[in-house]
């Protein structure tokens, strides 16, 4: 483990816990850039036990953040995985020590494109180095080292978070006792890259984007970012869920207005999602995190053979997919499972029936709940974690 003697613990109100690694301990990125100093904002839930064997790292998805559970201090809404994290929930905070950090390149307190570039004393903007999933994981490793934790009991996450889980298991197998990659893929597909590109182009087409220097000019590309969010949001839902929730129902009216108002409930819903998103998310950050996903192709680092990424791994895996998820279809999960099988890994795979599409992993799905609980409890028994809840 690295000794972070210069790391500074801070407590600044709006972003919870932060740690800053000084200029000589920054992050060197896959793209050849350097991010120094590096601040990571994180949140923890539950208590770390004496021999530090009950720590679970949760990896958030594209636009998530460190607030996995409880009330989010910025949005006032519940955390992104509140359905799964808390006392008595599958990620039981009475039993496990849960860590969740905002990814590098994010915008909820960790260093990202909206942070001040020490070279120019202005926001980084597009001068921020393009980061990869592996860079995100390297930053998380710095945090885990800083917290003095040797082996994580579990690393879990969905979507982009699931990519980080796979990267953790491949890069640091000896530090990951168990892993739950959920609703994810070992590489971003052409379709996924295409949707991300639409989102980025929407941001960049907004005149208020100002080539990424909008913060200095006191504006924000809200329209572009909202459109990006609207198009992305469609990919998180299934046709069945859209039909069930909205169908062709009209919004507060009995007949079409023959205009371009939000006549349909689905239009109103997407506009609301877009507006709510721009209040909490930085447009440049959106460019960077989507790019990180696009570049993800785990097998490419192992001669194109995914199984080699997990060769002789001792980590216990539980791969979960949702049958109505067309953004990260269960065939992607199965590819991961086949690679793990070929590598002789201990792997379980569950395909959860749900009509909620990709978003299902964030919602209360009883079977997913049961799978997660069962997997963690059996892993805890194998790890020799005492059940201190009784």
């Amino acid at each position: 483990m690295t000794n972070f003697s210069h790391a500074q613990q801070e407590q600044s109100g709006s972003v919870g816990k932060t740690v800053t690694f000084s200029s000589d301990q920054g992050l060197l990125t896959d793209g050849g850039g350097a991010i120094a100093p590096l601040t990571l904002a994180y949140e923890t839930y539950g208590q770390l036990n004496q021999n530090k064997s009950n720590a679970i790292l949760l990896c958030h998805a594209l636009t998530g953040d460190q607030y996995a559970a409880g009330v989010h201090p910025v949005t006032g809404k519940t955390g992104w995985w509140d359905a799964m994290v808390g006392p008595g929930k599958p990620f039981d905070t009475d039993r496990y020590f849960i860590i969740c950090s905002n990814v590098v390149g994010g915008c909820m307190g960790s260093t990202g494109p909206a942070s001040i570039n020490p070279r120019s004393n202005k926001p980084y903007g597009l001068d921020f180095p393009v980061v990869t999933i592996r860079d995100m994981v390297r930053a998380q490793l710095m945090l885990i080292d800083y917290l003095g934790i040797d082996t994580l009991f579990c690393v879990a996450g969905g979507s982009m978070g699931g990519m980080q889980v796979l990267q953790w298991a491949a890069s640091y197998p000896q530090r990951v006792f168990s892993a739950m990659p959920i609703a994810t893929a070992a590489k971003h597909s052409a379709q996924n890259i295409a949707f991300h590109e639409v989102g980025r182009q929407a941001v960049m087409a907004d005149p208020d984007w100002r080539s990424g220097r909008y913060l200095e000019q006191g504006v924000r590309p809200e329209k572009g970012l909202a459109v990006a969010r609207m198009s992305a949001h469609i990919t998180y839902l299934s046709e069945a869920a859209l039909q069930r929730k909205f169908g062709r129902k009209l919004q507060d009216r009995s007949a079409p207005t023959f205009s371009f108002d939000a006549d349909f409930q689905i239009e109103n819903y997407l506009r609301y999602q877009g507006l709510a998103f721009v209040e909490r998310f930085d447009a440049n950050s959106y460019l960077f995190v989507t790019r990180a996903c696009d570049y993800f192709d785990l097998a490419a680092d192992y001669g194109g053979v995914l199984a080699r990424a997990f060769k002789e791994t001792k980590t216990r895996f539980c791969v979960v997919g949702f049958d109505s998820d067309w953004l990260y279809p269960t065939s992607d999960s199965r590819s991961i499972v086949h690679a793990l099988n070929a590598g002789g890994a201990s792997v379980s795979f569950v395909e959860i029936e749900s009509d909620k599409g990709h978003d299902a992993f964030l919602l209360h799905e009883p079977m997913f709940n049961a799978t997660t609980r069962g997997f963690l409890e059996s892993a805890a028994a194998a790890r020799g974690l005492r059940d201190n809840r009784k």
Partner: protein, 210 residues
């Protein structure tokens, strides 16, 4: 060991006896993981499972077993050669779409294959068909013809013929009575085929060189 005659999985202990301790085992159609758990406890095996039902997979995962949701028809092809010492298919062969392919894959993935299945040649089944002129319904085969998952039923003789076709060698075979006990007489095949309600076979990839 006393066995419940109404338990349709009487064959589990017989199968467990065929497995060498400490070996790597893949149980295809592992259900709630009863056999894998038995093998882990009594034979210290490194076990893996494949199961179609979500509830079955969840039960297995909760028991700490490594089980993948899938089935013998679609998922075995993706397993590498020689990954296991034993590949077990208990009471599932008759429900596969392509039993021949399933067997071939099992013998590719594992050095040994263990297969158990209900014997359609049992006298009770023959009698039902012959006397009543109806599709047989028994304790082992409890569904009516239109409602059964068992689409490829066979007799012990049929199975032995298929094993021959695949070029595999029968290392051990047992017909089980209705209580799950092996019929211990050194009887010719036709007796087994008549008296066995179930059968369990241990197969090896090739016949040994003479």
């Amino acid at each position: 060991m006393t066995q419940d005659p109404h338990n349709p999985r009487l064959d589990l202990n017989v199968i467990a006896d065929l497995v060498t301790p400490g070996s790597r085992v893949l149980d295809v159609g592992c259900g709630d993981g009863a056999l894998l758990q038995l093998l882990a406890q009594t034979k210290n095996v490194d076990g893996r499972g494949v199961e179609l039902s979500q509830s079955g997979v969840n039960e297995c995962v909760a028991k700490g077993l490594s089980v993948i949701q899938g089935d013998a028809d679609t998922d075995l092809a993706d397993y590498p050669d020689d990954g296991f010492d034993y590949v077990i298919l208990s009471q599932t062969l008759q429900a596969t779409r392509r039993p021949r392919e399933a067997l071939r894959n099992m013998l590719r993935i594992g050095r040994h294959a263990i297969v158990s299945f209900p014997n359609f040649g049992h006298w009770r089944i023959r009698t039902q068909l012959a006397i009543k002129g109806r599709m047989p319904v028994t304790g082992n085969l409890a569904n009516s013809w239109h409602d059964t998952p068992n689409i490829h039923l066979c007799t012990i003789r049929d199975f032995v013929e298929l094993v021959d076709e695949l070029g595999a060698h029968i290392a051990h075979g047992a017909a089980l009575d209705r209580y799950g006990s092996p019929i211990r007489v050194n009887a010719p095949w036709w007796i087994w085929n008549l008296m066995g309600e179930q059968a369990v076979f241990l197969l090896e990839r090739r016949a040994p060189q003479k």
